[in-house]
Symmetry: C2
Subunit: 253 residues, 2 copies
């Protein structure tokens, strides 16, 4: 049975702990948490340590901490030549200390503390320095997810930028939609079916094929009416820029 | 039984025809289509006319044509003082010719020609000049949808602008994410679970609560790395503007 230890106690660490606990092919050996209480609701206390020197032998150590802490945490590990991976979308492979074999185990999803996720559908992006380690990461990944991808560090950076566009920026547009509704005494609920359908459409159509609206059909009259309607400078600037981008098919004028 | 006639044969008209055919509380009297073939797959030929003078008596006439054609079509109707409504998110109530009683029956959804929709979940935005007409529109709306809203013309304009943000602009951000993936040999499929979860999150959280990412946590190092990564001017300009907007919580600097 493959032995996994998790170092960290935040959002990603907690979701990984729960995913590994649900399957029988992986033995979750230990969790390292500076504050043992932070994961006490998930594990027996003897499976939690806050002392690096107490770390037990495992086949892979998954460091699930904030990007800024990866280098420091990986340098603290009291062993060498083991497989140590991080879970970051942005950190280079070389952020990990060179005394161990390096890898990446990056779940591409937005995790909320109190919202359960079905790990089976979460894409896991894997990277390792050699084929044996990559194979081991694949085995572990397949035990919790059906969506496994080999992604190198350069691709992972691109993926993370893409994720900012389709997740962070999209959510911000939801917020602007919400604010326009609120300013006009319209319940935001009215937009939710449209938001769902917009996300559903691109399961079967490419975003280019799915594009509709005044900018796409170059309906200058409606665009002018919308620009006149938007008295908030920030909303108007975003409206103009994204309208132009759609009109130019994603290219700069 | 309430009698409805539909004038028009495009996307919205066809989805409405199918929704009314599925329920027994509404009698779909007739469809007016300039080109009778365009709806011949949906109706018996004797229920289709391309001649205004052949329009039969109905309780309401739903004009589902492009915004630009509403005024002309409504002026062509060979009767007076009937209830005539349009289905547009942008056209004023007064776009309809004054010889009839005016109203709006606006389904807020993105319709694709070959993709079935569950009309029950589609918000219908209703407006009329008097209570009796509004009540009639409500009865008709309830027969095909569970989401009925009274929305006046000014609110409808706001709603349409909001819809551009959460549908057209969001889809364009999907396209940019897709392009960044393609440029880096990453399958776009890897982003789809994230896109779905982003849309799902705001069913239970407000967009403001759901906001995450480098801009939200003011992670200047990651933002700088992303800006350096984006060599496409258009993508970089959009990245900067939306990052600033998140940092300023949707307000202009």
């Amino acid at each position: 049975m493959t032995k996994v230890s998790i170092i960290g106690s935040g959002n990603v660490a907690q979701h990984l702990i729960q995913a590994f606990q649900l399957n029988s092919q992986i033995e979750l050996v230990q969790v390292f948490a500076r504050n043992k209480k932070s994961v006490a609701h998930l594990l027996d206390s003897d499976a939690i340590t806050s002392d690096y020197s107490q770390l037990q032998v495992a086949d892979v150590y998954i460091i699930a901490v904030s990007d800024d802490a990866i280098a420091e945490v990986s340098s603290q590990l009291p062993f060498e030549n083991q497989l140590v991976v991080h879970t970051s979308g942005t950190a280079d492979l070389d952020t990990l200390h060179e005394k161990n074999r390096k890898g990446v185990f990056y779940p591409l999803q937005t995790f909320s503390k109190n919202k359960a996720v079905d790990f089976k559908t979460i894409p896991l992006c894997l990277e390792a320095e050699n084929k044996t380690d990559l194979q081991l990461l694949k085995t572990i990944a397949h035990s919790i997810s059906n969506a496994i991808y080999e992604i190198n560090s350069e691709q992972r950076k691109a993926l993370h930028v893409s994720a900012v566009f389709v997740n962070n920026f999209v959510n911000h547009l939801y917020q602007i939609g919400n604010e326009i509704c609120e300013d006009n005494q319209i319940p935001f609920d009215i937009l939710k079916p449209l938001i769902q359908e917009t996300a559903n459409k691109i399961v079967t159509l490419s975003p280019k094929q799915a594009q509709t609206g005044p900018a796409k059909r170059n309906d200058l009259k409606t665009i002018a009416a919308h620009e006149q309607f938007l008295t908030d400078d920030n909303q108007a600037t975003i409206y103009k820029l994204l309208t132009q981008s759609i009109q130019n098919n994603g290219k700069k004028l």
